[in-house]
Symmetry: C2
Subunit: 194 residues, 2 copies
């Protein structure tokens, strides 16, 4: 037998497969039977553990989405770090897209929208806002820069724009520096090697 009867292990495997399915196919495109089938378990078990499909979605995406870079280094390196994390990290576990980009597919459900906003605000904008310190409209500048990073991720993975899809991190680096300086009003050195 492949697996012993271990509630927590089965729960964890369900969450992992659910995460992948929801990211790749969206909320509506994923059925409870799909997820249970991936794990090799009866669909009814999902409802025993998570109450509903919605509960499965909430818990799957909640445990997934906090890979936020820690503001450990100098603040000037934050844009490059966030760009790398949001766009160039290996998100193969989530079907090649950053979870936040993937979650846009499942928007429309109001709780998904709320979760998205919360994760973007607390996970990214709060960190980025250090860069805007000292400017009069700090929050707006921060969100505008966040919008840029998110837009880059979307054009690359969800839309598949020709040039940006093939661009490397090196290609984006000089423009990242230029835009960051334009928005934050101070030079933002970009490290040469990630």
């Amino acid at each position: 037998m492949a697996h012993k009867r271990d509630r927590e292990a089965t729960r964890a495997r369900l969450l992992e497969c659910a995460r992948l399915r929801f990211a790749r196919d969206g909320y509506d495109g994923t059925s409870v039977r799909d997820v249970a089938g991936d794990v090799g378990v009866d669909p009814a078990l999902v409802f025993r553990y998570f109450g509903s499909k919605s509960g499965l979605f909430t818990q799957a995406m909640a445990g997934s989405s906090a890979p936020v870079v820690l503001p450990d280094g100098p603040v000037e390196e934050l844009p490059a770090k966030l760009l790398h994390q949001l766009v160039f990290e290996d998100w193969s576990e989530y079907a090649g897209e950053h979870p936040l980009v993937a979650m846009l597919r499942s928007a429309g459900h109001e709780d998904t929208k709320d979760r998205l906003r919360q994760q973007i605000c607390e996970g990214y904008l709060d960190v980025l806002s250090q860069l805007a310190e000292g400017n009069e409209d700090k929050n707006l500048r921060t969100e505008l820069f966040g919008a840029w990073l998110l837009g880059i991720g979307i054009l690359r993975t969800a839309v598949g724009t020709p040039t940006l899809s093939k661009a490397t991190e090196e290609d984006l680096r000089p423009h990242l520096a230029a835009v960051a300086e334009a928005l934050f009003g101070r030079p933002v050195p970009v490290p040469k090697n990630g």
Copy 2:
């Protein structure tokens, strides 16, 4: 009776209601019965006119999405015009979102992705690329600016970020100029009043 028997008129009303539904609820969240119900017609009529739900979607989104600003004025005013059109135009007909932002909800279907890419490239990036003329990596700069505009639209409507949601066109104007100049390497005057 509210309406006479007019094939073309009924067809047009179906397309209009389908556009709204698909934009607001996404492809999966919209049923043929919903659209037919809005028009006050039998669902079977949809299949008689459009063959399938997919055909309805294609024709509804195709007829909708070409409100591309004409490059009639000076090229320097293009960023402001596109920002206005993409973000601040009245898209109440599409549930308050630009159709392209709304179409992201229905991504996952490969033809939707293709249509998105085509419309963004031909409708927006081609126009914007005039601004990048003379730069070495013209296409990349153009797509990066397009990514920014798209990201702003998404953060405003789909995510609902606090500051950007309430920002006016006037608030964004100076930052638009700064980023455009940073990306395109030349001053981009922003008109004072839209």
